[in-house]
């Protein structure tokens, strides 16, 4: 299989139509972080298998088309407009036997429109065209097209190992768990061919045996005994038919429970450290949240103070001046009243009049002024004469009301303004103090997160609050222990039943032979059964031998790859050791002693070497090479390791497509030693240069270098 080109149409960050042509050899797509490499990687998977890889989350099957369309295109769709988006892949496969090359055009295309403000999906199609020199062009769509891809072009099971994200390599092969290696060998190896032959032989044997017994029934030395044996054989065959299909299921369940039990045991083993880390993390998170909250309150307080008080700073001279003007008004008004009420000196004022009213006596003429009398009422009418101006107009009185309202404010406002500088200073001090504390806690948070990540890396699983619930872990382990025991008992029972039935069948068949009548009507099926039996034994032995040989080959090839990549590194002499009986992988030194102090880069090299050796072995046996497509595989490797790795990849794979951010600096060195097919670069651009770089305002431009 060879990928000729990929065409991207308004797909994720790739706005408009953009094409990449691939050739044999190493094809490099270089781009910085966030330039769209992972999205390009996803375009292969989405087109062929309708799934995308989401960083930190894993695979997402059948993603929402509205998440796939270019954000800027989606944002600018106008009423009634139809927009297409999708991916087209042109590839070819070689039929080794016939020498024919078949060209495939595969496309996954969606279309949207905007109607009454709503955006609707109006097309979501998956098509495959292939151009066979004998049969001409043929078209398939949807499920049929998916089946052709899976069976004839690129099995999805295999795809994870040949097209992978650097990030997901840990999930593909885990050195700590034998199951992950067994899975990959089972997925890719050719052992299944032998197992298919075994199945065919069993079916053939059953059919021939039926014919044999029919013939023997007609012509046997002892009919009664034959009937007894025939009945017994049928009974045992049924037992095998019932028990055999359960074996795989039981084994699968046992493996699954063992993995889960192992995970729980590891959690328990690392309980103390986990507990301490979680406590540290929670404490930090708690303090950090409190600081953030305090900063938020301070920010609110700052804005409120600013609006109510601080923004008035600088206005004091104007306010003082306004006070002068209001006083000026009051003086003017008083002078007006005084002018009108310019009373003679002997006219008593309000204070004296009140005294007269209280004593019920006019102190001017010394007459009685009893309450209710004419004299008393006269004195009363003289009260408040200054306020009862007849000269001041209603406008002046309105102004007086306003000024009476306003004149209390200046002193308070001036006092507030005088405090502004001190308050701002205090605010700044508090802000600086909290920010300093926040920075400290943030750095501490990052340190703890790194500690947790390293610890999780060591555990191979993530830690959370539930991981320290000892009682729950113990319950889980007990539960899995009992499930495993039960399933193992079932498995042993089934195996014993099958073994017993098989041995009975073998013995009964021998006995049947004795019942044959050796005359001219000799039964040919008897000899055929002998041959099939020999064949079955041979295949059984072959499977065991071939599996061991395959593991040895994989081990040898993996070690060759590792030493090739690390040839420049004299300090690390790591060797891979695979046990063919239990599929465990060990990394050892030259003396066969286990190596524990490998860094992430070395572990990545070892894992990729094992994967590459299995794929190259599989390609040889199945006679179908696949292109190698990978995103950021070398991010944890050093400069020299990266070049050695790419060199190795280009040796193993006829075509490889590598997306990376690290390669341009080493391009001269790479070109010297590796056959380069094509080089492309991904560059993020703004749709509108004057606006900021948001998702809707950026796209990726692919350019050939």
């Amino acid at each position: 299989m060879r990928i000729n080109s990929i065409r991207l149409l308004n797909f994720l960050p790739f706005k408009g139509e953009q094409i990449i042509d691939f050739t044999d050899g190493l094809n490099i797509v270089n781009g910085n972080i966030g330039s769209g490499k992972s999205n390009l990687f996803n375009s292969f998977y989405w087109c062929l298998f309708n799934k995308i890889y989401v960083t930190d989350e894993g695979w997402e099957q059948n993603p929402d088309p509205f998440e796939i369309i270019n954000a800027s295109v989606l944002d600018n769709i106008v009423e009634g407009q139809e927009i297409e988006f999708g991916v087209f892949i042109d590839l070819e496969t070689d039929d080794v036997d016939s020498g024919i090359t078949i060209n495939y055009s595969i496309s996954r295309i969606c279309s949207i429109t905007r109607e009454n403000q709503d955006i609707k999906l109006i097309k979501n199609e998956f098509d495959l065209y292939y151009d066979d020199p004998d049969e001409g062009s043929t078209h398939f769509s949807n499920n049929e097209a998916s089946n052709i891809i899976d069976i004839d072009i690129f099995p999805e099971l295999l795809s994870d190992y040949v097209w992978f994200q650097g990030e997901s390599i840990d999930k593909l092969i885990d050195l700590e768990k034998s199951e992950s290696f067994k899975n990959i060998v089972d997925t890719i190896s050719y052992i299944d061919y032998y197992e298919d032959i075994q199945k065919v032989l069993n079916l053939t044997e059953r059919k021939i045996d039926r014919d044999y017994r029919k013939k023997l029934n007609k012509n046997t030395k002892d009919k009664k005994r034959f009937d007894e044996i025939d009945l017994e054989l049928t009974k045992n065959e049924r037992i095998i038919d019932n028990c055999e299909p359960q074996l795989d299921n039981l084994q699968e369940e046992i493996d699954k429970y063992k993995v889960k039990r192992e995970e729980l045991k590891e959690k328990l083993y690392n309980k103390d450290e986990t507990e301490e880390l979680i406590k540290k993390r929670d404490l930090n998170q708690d303090s950090y949240k409190k600081i953030l909250l305090k900063l938020e309150y301070l920010d609110e307080e700052y804005k409120r103070n600013y609006i109510d008080k601080w923004m008035l700073k600088g206005l004091s001279p104007l306010i003082k001046n306004s006070l002068d003007k209001m006083t000026e008004f009051e003086d003017w008004r008083t002078s007006q009243i005084d002018k009108e009420q310019n009373l003679p000196e002997d006219v008593p004022g309000d204070q004296y009049l009140h005294k007269m009213l209280n004593e019920e006596l006019c102190m001017i003429c010394n007459r009685d002024a009893v309450q209710g009398s004419i004299e008393h009422n006269h004195i009363k009418s003289l009260l408040n004469r200054k306020e009862k101006s007849k000269v001041l107009s209603p406008e002046v009185e309105n102004l007086n009301t306003t000024i009476t309202q306003l004149k209390h404010f200046p002193s308070r406002i001036l006092n507030n303004i005088s405090e502004v500088d001190t308050e701002i200073k205090e605010y700044r001090e508090r802000d600086a103090d909290l920010t300093k504390r926040k920075t400290f806690l943030y750095n501490e948070k990052r340190k703890i997160e790194k500690e947790i990540k390293d610890f999780e890396g060591k555990l191979g699983t993530s830690i959370d609050n539930t991981s320290i619930n000892t009682r729950r872990i113990m319950e889980g382990i007990t539960k899995y222990d009992s499930l495993i025991s039960k399933k193992e008992r079932d498995l042993t029972y089934n195996e014993a039943q099958i073994r017993e039935s098989k041995s009975k069948i073998e013995r009964l068949r021998k006995e049947l032979k004795d019942l044959e009548v050796h005359d001219s009507t000799e039964i040919i099926e008897s000899q055929q059964l002998d041959v099939i039996n020999d064949l079955k034994l041979t295949i059984e032995k072959t499977i065991v031998l071939e599996y061991k040989k395959l593991i040895k080959d994989i081990e040898k090839r993996s070690n060759d790859y590792v030493s090739e990549i690390l040839s420049h590194n004299t300090s690390i002499k790591a060797k891979i050791k695979i046990d063919p009986d239990d599929n465990t992988i060990e990394i050892v030194d030259q003396d066969g002693e286990e190596l524990n102090l490998l860094n992430t880069g070395h572990k990545t090299i070892i894992k990729m070497s094992i994967i590459n050796s299995i794929i190259s072995k599989s390609s040889e046996y199945k006679n179908q090479p696949y292109p190698f497509v990978t995103d950021a595989p070398t991010s944890s490797l050093g400069e020299k390791d990266t070049i050695s790795y790419l060199k190795l990849v280009s040796t193993i794979f006829g075509q490889s497509i590598v997306m990376s951010k690290d390669l341009f600096g080493n391009m001269d060195e790479i070109k010297k030693t590796i056959k380069i097919g094509s080089i492309y670069e991904l560059n993020p651009k703004k749709v509108d240069e004057s606006k900021e770089s948001t998702l809707k305002n950026t796209f990726t431009l692919i350019s050939k270098v």
Partner: protein
């Protein structure tokens, strides 16, 4: 019965150009409905940046009368003085006192709410002119500007 100036002003609305509403008032306040140029809003309500602009106009004694600006119309009513009085009584009083202080009519302006509204609007218009110039020169880079601006007012007096 006599009525104070605050009561008389309450139902009136200040004047400002649509361009100033769009570029400054909406951009600076959370109720503006547009994304802030700072990524974060400093003021909560739309009257706050208006009063801020008015204070800037008063501080610089920069009063700019309204004229026919073609496409840039006077904004239709967005808020009235009652909103300002209810949410920032002392701020409103301060602005009126400053208008009195700078007015040729002296305290007499307090008898004319229409004239006070006009003066407040024209000082805000002057303040907007100053703020627009600062935005053009990229002098307002983030919300910290407002605090530094207040700090720097010492040089004005």
């Amino acid at each position: 019965m006599s009525q104070g100036i605050l009561n008389q002003l309450a139902p009136m609305s200040p004047k400002f150009y649509v361009s100033n509403d769009e570029r400054i008032m909406k951009n600076f306040s959370e109720t503006g409905g547009v994304k802030s140029i700072f990524g974060e809003k400093f003021f909560y309500q739309r009257w706050q940046p208006f009063i801020y602009a008015c204070i800037i106009g008063l501080l610089h004694n920069h009063k700019v009368p309204f004229e026919n600006r073609g496409n840039d119309k006077i904004s239709p009513k967005v808020f009235d003085y009652q909103t300002i009085i209810s949410n920032g009584y002392e701020t409103m009083v301060t602005v009126i006192l400053c208008v009195v202080s700078l007015s040729d009519k002296g305290y007499n302006i307090l008898s004319d709410p229409q004239l006070i509204n006009n003066d407040i609007s024209e000082y805000a218009n002057g303040g907007f002119e100053i703020l627009n110039r600062k935005l053009d020169n990229n002098e307002i880079e983030g919300i910290t500007y407002f605090l530094s601006e207040v700090k720097n007012r010492d040089n004005l007096n």
